[in-house]
Symmetry: C2
Subunit: 460 residues, 2 copies
């Protein structure tokens, strides 16, 4: 919670009303209310409908005026016209925050745009902060607030996400949860009648429970302010911008009424202002996971430790094309390796260090790993291990090497997902993000390097 | 099985010997033997060691000569020097196939290269086909043959994989299994003393149980023959080529003794010869899954059906950059859509067709989907749906639309993996590959389009 911020009232309400609640499982009004209940929201909940008596076992109020208490947040589950009248009612009741899920505004053409202008005028007149319209809603996992018509429950964590698309926001949530990445806050910006990307960014930037921020972006007229705000906050911002051609630009226009704009221009601006650009959901998840878990490297020099060459080459490709370097290991490190193996070891002394068969045993793996991690020319270690049923994963050794060297380690284990769960929990508890492919591990490592570099440049 | 082919003897042996078996769980010889047992190989198994009596409850033979039967395949779990003597023994016994797991040959320098030359000379003298050296081995899931020192068990299926890296081959196997993609044959080519990529390609090309082929490639001097063979076989070949820069080139050299070569040259050659190039494990899995499951489209025109815009924009980006087009829907299709919705529907009539809230109900989703699929300008449909606990997935409708329209459908459901399992089985049983992100669905669709286009050009 950020004391006194306009969005606090919306993300941390004490009381929530659902206008247009329904008793049909297939209506948005039902789903919004069910979602709040299922999410375990601890504050007051007021379903509102002129004729219904109870929904999901709760008393229904027949109007907003009938509610005895102050209402902080109203969820409007009404069509695009009825939403206008309801927002007016909210204003009269003194409600200062509203979520408008209805579509049918500027994304459908001129008539819709006029309607949206009316909506915005009402909000302005009463000083109501509006999420949407044309949105899935918002989630604040830190307050058990699931103000969205997609009833679900997600693991808690440090990541907050701003999405211009409900569907991509959901896709991110599901993939993040499958990767063990917990969610803090989530908002579908919809048509951005009141709040722009920049507003959510500024709020999440101050929010003490948000550690890293992701954005799914189609396009915005508010891009200039967005990047300036992103550059000013002290948290990493990862952005997935779509709409690379004219066809997809048109699709964006008919989605939220915004021309997406040139992809290249966006990408260059992101770089300049220190937003980290990714090009897939998998890259987004990898970057946010690494940034939320691992400590930051002192530079861009990555040491790769492995017992199998191929994944280290894949990782190297991805790292080198993302601003990381793979320095040679120091002479002292090579000597220390030779003290372990004896002279002329059965592998080439280089970075990536591939110790081949000598790396199966976790204890041995740990010894080599520690030498790479302690190398004065290495800022971050990417550690690769392939599951073998007769050997254990070197997870304890990874944790030890990280702690002794005081450097970030990003891990890649080749294995089935089901076998990784326990290792993932152990490693990630100790600040070592674990991935199932070398590409993902490299994406995570590169995001850490980029953010650390950004901080150093800012500090100058 | 391919009658009379030299590699048949290796992939479909009647009897297998393990030279250098061990009773220690941490030795390669033990793991190779355990792997064969665990894989359920139905033929004769002969563990060989000069002094041991039993391993894993099986009688150990003290020499190859002692084995009463003809041996088709010998697995050599010995060091690089002992492997030479053992291969000589194999020759004398009349063994025609061998897997050499030892490293220490040309990948470690000149002395190793000389040793490898000796190994090759022995193989040539006796007419032995050699897998490796410096390899994880091979798997033939069609014959329950797990001739690798990584004991595992994988779901059976139509994909065969040729890997220049054990670690990347394992990573692919794990990720493919997690994606529900079954394996047919797998080989780690190692240093390719006897068999080149082209040989495995030619063999898998004729193999009736292999439907699609994947390659993980660092680099090969045999690239010209490889692409010519790939161009000649009637199965799709998907290739993941790594080593994009000088540093990774060096890593490849020290891995299997091969300079990787310019990535761009490879990519252009792949295009010319009809190999489908991918740039990550995830893209490899998506392409092979689509190619192994779905029927082929008649052209490159993709219709996207969705109830949420964002994922359709992401899919469009990926499709358009991979040779697919997104044609406008036909006038008759638009009229049919309006007959369903009434005039001026609450969404824009275009491709991607985003029916928004009208698409939650599976029955309604199915009606729109069918109109897109039946559109004469659409060759393939990419169908997107976001999980909502109060609605069911439109899986039955997808199957029906595919069968009625006689066109391929590729599906993307936004959901947690655990909820997708059942839908995945149903859809994939009916030839509809299911993915968890729009990028993966688009990669799968684009691979289908590319392969169909390749076949049409060949037929001309």
């Amino acid at each position: 919670m950020v004391g006194g911020h306009e969005l606090d009232n919306i993300f941390y309400p004490k009381s929530v009303a659902v206008l247009g609640v329904s008793d049909s499982r297939q209506r948005v009004g039902y789903n919004l209310f069910e979602s709040l209940l299922q999410g375990g929201f601890p504050g007051s909940l007021y379903p509102v409908h002129p004729r219904l008596e109870t929904v999901l076992g709760r008393r229904v109020y027949h109007s907003l005026a009938e509610i005895p208490e102050k209402v902080d947040l109203a969820l409007l589950a009404l069509n695009e016209r009825a939403t206008l009248a309801a927002l007016e009612e909210c204003g009269e009741k003194g409600v200062k925050g509203a979520v408008c899920v209805a579509g049918g505004y500027r994304e459908v053409g001129e008539a819709g745009a006029a309607l949206e202008e009316e909506l915005r005028a009402i909000a302005r007149r009463y000083g109501i902060g509006l999420i949407g319209p044309n949105t899935l809603g918002l989630i604040n996992n830190d307050a058990d607030l699931y103000a969205t018509f997609y009833p679900l429950r997600l693991p808690k964590g440090p990541v907050s996400f701003i999405s211009q698309s409900g569907g991509m926001g959901l896709t991110f949530m599901h993939r993040a949860a499958d990767a063990g990445l917990g969610l803090n806050k989530w908002v579908g910006v919809g048509n951005r009648s009141t709040f722009e990307f920049a507003d959510y960014l500024a709020y999440f930037g101050q929010d003490p429970t948000t550690k890293v921020i992701g954005i799914f972006l189609e396009g915005t007229e508010g891009a200039a302010r967005m990047v300036r705000v992103a550059a000013a906050i002290a948290k990493p911002v990862v952005v997935y911008k779509v709409g690379r051609g004219e066809v997809t630009d048109y699709a964006s226009l008919t989605h939220t009424g915004t021309l997406a704009g040139s992809y290249r221009v966006y990408r260059d601006i992101f770089r300049q202002f220190g937003l980290y650009a990714v090009e897939s959901v998998a890259q987004m998840v990898a970057a946010l996971k690494a940034l939320s878990l691992a400590p930051l490297p002192q530079g861009n020099r990555v040491g790769i430790m492995t017992h199998t060459a191929g994944p280290s080459i894949v990782a190297a490709d991805e790292l080198l094309s993302r601003g990381c370097s793979l320095p040679p290991l120091a002479a002292a490190t090579l000597e220390a390796i030779e003290r372990l193996t004896g002279p002329s070891p059965p592998f080439v002394l280089k970075n990536p260090l591939d110790v081949a068969g000598l790396g199966f045993a976790a204890e041995a793996y740990g010894q080599y790993l520690e030498l790479v991690a302690q190398d004065p020319g290495v800022d971050l270690v990417l550690a690769i291990y392939c599951e073998h049923k007769n050997w254990r994963f070197p997870s304890r050794e990874l944790v030890q090497a990280k702690e002794r060297a005081g450097k970030p380690i990003v891990a890649c284990y080749a294995s089935r997902d089901e076998f990784l769960e326990e290792e993932r929990k152990l490693l990630e508890h100790h600040g070592i993000p674990l991935f199932g492919t070398p590409e993902e591990a490299a994406w995570g490592a590169a995001a850490l390097v980029a953010w650390a570099e950004r901080l150093r440049r800012k500090a100058k």
